[in-house]
Structures are given as structure tokens and as C-alpha cells.
């Protein structure tokens, strides 16, 4: 069979397997191996490729950053900083209308600055903030919606595992991507706070206020979170200034958060065991997808499909923004059912060459970074869009009394603010890129 036809057929087959609940990584692995076998026409080259496939993927130096960041996030959870962050944000914002909710967002942003995973951020902050929100009279819909949205700040604010994977696939500088993602991440936090402020005014009875604290107590609460700030500055600053490589930065972060957890008495036998097992589960999940994507993408590369498709799109004379919006829309739609890493690993090898050939009036590196940040945002929207929003499930599993329907409704305003932000960042690339132009 013609390799291009084979590649074209492989995608629906892959989708069928995935919807039959075959794990995504395994589906890509099986379809990729079968496809390569067909393109090679014999089994010998495939068997040869299989000798190194797993080991060479798992020992890729740039990927070693992923388990280290995951371990860092687990240590950050054990360090109990989530509570301190929430208290600090509440001391500053709690007395405004919707203030406790804004404080939860602020705390998520703080936690996201030392954690590169959305689910870990949603789970950690949910445990701390959900009871406080309920006590402050926040409705079920608003509390679950805002915490699910706040969880995405774990990935939107660097360090970010999705950006690491994008950087590897698109062969871009991780440090520059982290720097570029920072301002859009803050915009996300600001947008979510704006949604809360609007929501509590428009929907009466959805939240109460808490009394303001004296300035001395506000100062004391803020002073408690200095370790988070210090770790963020050292890790991200060190990576960005080139004092150490991104992988070394993740190592520094893991050691620093580990030390913090130890100082604060979080490294009990049970706590450490849970952290190790959670790191193992999350790392295993990521690398299974990485392995499957490696097999599938090497099949696609063999079939020449990505280059052909990029060439075809170029010849059609579509405007660059038409193509860009089509891609972003694709991510939004698929994000409703698929997880962010699988989508990125599956599609960047196809979409990146396509976008690279288009003229947005930016240099190649600026374009790649801008596109990476946009993709990061749209795939993260997938974590909070019904029906399969992982963050929603994480938060909802903590509060069985709130129905998933309420959570779906509660998160919609936050999805709207995400979409608004995407439009803004597409229209003004400078918001993402100005940090790099300084």
C-alpha cells in the first residue's frame, strides 16, 4: 500500500483504538509498529529498530527533566507549602468580593511556579482550598470550577512538563520557552480572578466575604511563603541565565523542595512512600506515551506524510492565520477527550512543519516559541473542558456532594476567559515575546 495512504488510514485506526479505551501510549505504539512494518515491507528492519526503541527514548537526556520535575512537584506537596500559599493569598485578597476564590487562584499560581503538572496542582490546592471555599459560602459550581481552572496554572506557569516536551519535538530552547510562558501564565491567573470578581457580582449568594486582617498578620502570612519564591527564582532564573541546564535546574528544584519538605516535617515514611509511588505512576504514564509517540512518529516520518501535508497546506494558499486557527481549534476539540501530552506528542511533528512554512512576520525562533505557548494554552483548556476534563474529575472526586453537572457549569466562565486570552495572544504576539526581546 502507498505509505501516504497508510499514514492517512492510521489516524482513524488509532482513534478507534483510543476510544475502545486501549491506553493511548499503547495504541500509538501498536499502530506505529504495524505501520512501519508495512512501509518497510519486511519485519527485519522493524525488529532491528525495536532493539533500541525503548532504551534510547528513556535515556534521552532532555527527557530526564520530566521525572525530576514530577518528583519536585511531589516534594512540594509534602512540604505543606500549599496551605501557607493559600493563607498568604487569602491575607492579601480575602476581604474583597470573591476574595477567597481569588486567593485560591493566587495560591495555585504560586504552587504552579514550583510544580510543572496540572493534576498535582489541582489535587494539592483542591485539598487545601476546597474546604475553605465551602466554609466561606462559595457555591459548589464556583468552587470546583475555579479550582479546576486554577490547577491548569501548574502547567501554564513555568516550569511546565508540556513545554519541555514541545521544546524537544520542535527543537527549541527550553529556557526561552519558560521565559515566554511566564507573562501569559500571569495573564491566565489575572483572567481567572477577573472571572471570579464578575461571577460573585452577577450570581448573588454564590460567595461570602471574610473580614480583612490587620497589616501585621498579612505581612506574617506573606513571609511564610519565601521558600517558594526562592526556589522559583533559583530554578527558573538559573535555567534562564544559563548557570545550569534545564535538567540540572529540575534537579536543583527537586533537591530544594525535598529539603523544604524535610525541614517542615513532611518526609515521613508514609509521605515519602506516597510521593515516590505518585512519581512512579506519573512518570510511567508520561514515558509510555513518549514510547508510543516515538514509534508512531517514526512511522509517519517513514511515510513522508508530515512533509507532504505541510507542502500541500503551503500550496493551497491558505492565510497563515486560517491555518493557525484551524490548528488551535483542532486542539480545543480534541482536548475535550484526549490528554495534553498525547496530543502534543501526536501532532507537533505534523503541525510544526506546517506552521514553520507560514509567514506571521516573526523570525523562525520567535514563531516557534509563540506557537508553543499558544499550543500550551489550548491543550490545557482540554483539562477543564467537559466531558473529559481531568482537573474537573480530580476536584470533583474530593466533593461527592457536588454533582459533576454543577462542576461543568461552574468551569465554563473560566474556559471563556481562556479563549479570550488565546485571541489576545494570537492578535498581539509581543505579549509572549517581549521578555525575549528585552
Amino acid at each position: 500500500m502507498d505509505p501516504l495512504v497508510l499514514a492517512g488510514l492510521s489516524f482513524p485506526v488509532l482513534m478507534v483504538l483510543i476510544f475502545l479505551r486501549v491506553p493511548i501510549g499503547l495504541s500509538m505504539l501498536v499502530v506505529g509498529l504495524f505501520g512501519s512494518w508495512q512501509v518497510y515491507g519486511s519485519v527485519a528492519p522493524l525488529l532491528n529498530q525495536l532493539k533500541n526503541l525503548a532504551y534510547s527514548q528513556f535515556s534521552t537526556h532532555s527527557l530526564s527533566i520530566v521525572p525530576l520535575f514530577l518528583l519536585m512537584g511531589q516534594f512540594a506537596t509534602l512540604g505543606g507549602m500549599s496551605k501557607a500559599l493559600f493563607k498568604a493569598a487569602e491575607a492579601l485578597l480575602g476581604h474583597y468580593r470573591g476574595g477567597v476564590g481569588m486567593a485560591a487562584i493566587g495560591a495555585c499560581a504560586g504552587f504552579g511556579s514550583i510544580c510543572g503538572s496540572s493534576l498535582a496542582t489541582a489535587a494539592t490546592m483542591g485539598q487545601v482550598a476546597l474546604p475553605e471555599l465551602r466554609r466561606a459560602g462559595y457555591s459548589g459550581a464556583l468552587s470546583t470550577g475555579l479550582l479546576a481552572a486554577g490547577g491548569t496554572l501548574g502547567i501554564l506557569i513555568p516550569p511546565s512538563i508540556v513545554l519541555v516536551i514541545y521544546a524537544i519535538l520542535a527543537e527549541q530552547n527550553i529556557a526561552k520557552l519558560f521565559a515566554a510562558a511566564f507573562v501569559p501564565g500571569l495573564l491566565a491567573a489575572g483572567g481567572y480572578m477577573g472571572v471570579i470578581a464578575l461571577y460573585v457580582r452577577l450570581v448573588p449568594g454564590s460567595a461570602n466575604q471574610v473580614p480583612a486582617l490587620p497589616w501585621r498578620e498579612r505581612g506574617a502570612a506573606l513571609a511564610n511563603v519565601w521558600p517558594v519564591l526562592l526556589i522559583f527564582v533559583v530554578v527558573i532564573g538559573g535555567i534562564y541565565s544559563g548557570i545550569f541546564t534545564p535538567t540540572e535546574g529540575a534537579a536543583v528544584g527537586a533537591v530544594a523542595t525535598g529539603a523544604m519538605a524535610w525541614r517542615r516535617g513532611g518526609l515521613t515514611r508514609a509521605g515519602l512512600g506516597a510521593a515516590f509511588e505518585a512519581t512512579a505512576s506519573a512518570t510511567g504514564m508520561v514515558f509510555m506515551i513518549v514510547l508510543g509517540a516515538a514509534a508512531y512518529n517514526s512511522f509517519l516520518a517513514l511515510s513522508q506524510m508530515p512533509q507532504e501535508l505541510a507542502g500541500w497546506v503551503g500550496r493551497q494558499g491558505f492565510g497563515p492565520y486560517t491555518v493557525l486557527w484551524a490548528i488551535l481549534l483542532f486542539y480545543l476539540v480534541f482536548g475535550c477527550v484526549m490528554d495534553s501530552l498525547s496530543m502534543i506528542l501526536l501532532t507537533i511533528p505534523i503541525f510544526f512543519p506546517m506552521v514553520s512554512g507560514l509567514d506571521f512576520g516573526l523570525g523562525p525562533e520567535e514563531m516557534a516559541i509563540w506557537f508553543g505557548v499558544l499550543v500550551l494554552i489550548v491543550v490545557e483548556v482540554g483539562l477543564i473542558t467537559p466531558p473529559v476534563g481531568m482537573n474537573l474529575f480530580v476536584i470533583q472526586s474530593m466533593t461527592p456532594e457536588i454533582s459533576i453537572r454543577q462542576s461543568y457549569l461552574g468551569v465554563l466562565p473560566f474556559v471563556a476567559s481562556d479563549l479570550l486570552r488565546v485571541v489576545l495572544l494570537v492578535a498581539v504576539p509581543g505579549i509572549t515575546l517581549f521578555v525575549l526581546r528585552l
Binding site: 486501549v22 493511548i24 501510549g25 499503547l26 537526556h61 521525572p67 506519573a282 466531558p387
Partner: protein, 172 residues
Amino acid sequence: MSHIVYSTSRAMAWLGACVLVFLAVLSVVSIGGRALSGLGLGPVPGDFELVEAGTALAVFCFLPWAHLRRSHAAVDMLWQAYPASLKRVLAVMADALMLLVWMLLVWRMALATLDYRANAEVSFILQMPVWWGYAASMVPAALGCVAYAWRLLETLDLVQAPDEIRTEAMVH
């Protein structure tokens, strides 16, 4: 038996995490050495190679645990709508596929280990034989076959997961 499979997989997950902690500390020591190179210190030689081999070992240690705990990303959007018999067939099919693919990979990796041993290829800085890294990862990879087979038996209702794992699964 179930208890042995689970505790071995758990022990491997812990071992992998300990390897990660070691790599993190190693990198920090290396950065420190590089920063103090004026005092005659330097980075840990070959830290790059150790991180690569160590990460591979850790990932192979993690995979069986991730599979037993059903952590792999899957789309279950339509799952509830499938009839029970189809669910059962699909679950068995997915677990059997995982076991088959993994056995294929382990078989090929074992051959690669022997190849590298025969051609005595070494790493660039430490001159560490490449087959060491493969051989170390072979241990958890081969044990992984047992975990994957066990999970298939569980899905076929031939064996049961240990009590504490099942009660946790019910809570979630």
C-alpha cells in the same frame, strides 16, 4: 502470589525514585563543583551519562507500577455506554496487547544487550560499557512482564489484586 507481584512492583517503584533522588543530588553536586572550579573543584565527570542511564533505569522501574495502578492515560468517554460483554473483551484485549508488546520489546532489548556486550561499545567520558545500562534496565523490564501478565490474569478474573489495592480502587 498477588502480594509478591504487587510488593515487588512497589519496591521497584521505590528503587526507581531513589535512583532519581540520587541523580538529583549528583546534578546539584556537579553544579556546585563547577561553580567552585576556581578552588580546584569541578563538575562530576560523566554526570551527563549517569543521568541518561539512571533515568532509563528509573523509568523501567516505574512502568510496571504505573500499569498495575492503572495510571496509563486512556480515553473512557464512551466506556460507560458499552455493553458489559464488550467491556470485558476490550479490557482483556488491551491487557493482552500490553503484555505482548512488552514481551516483544524485552526480547529485542535482551538481544541489544548482548550486541553491545559483544562489540564492547563504551560511553564517551566515563568509558562505561553501554551494555551495563541495558543490563541494569533489563531487570525491571523483565520483571515488568510478570506484572503485565498478572494484570491480564486479574482482568480475566483468574486472580485478585491484594485487598488494600482493591479497597483503594473502590474509594476512587
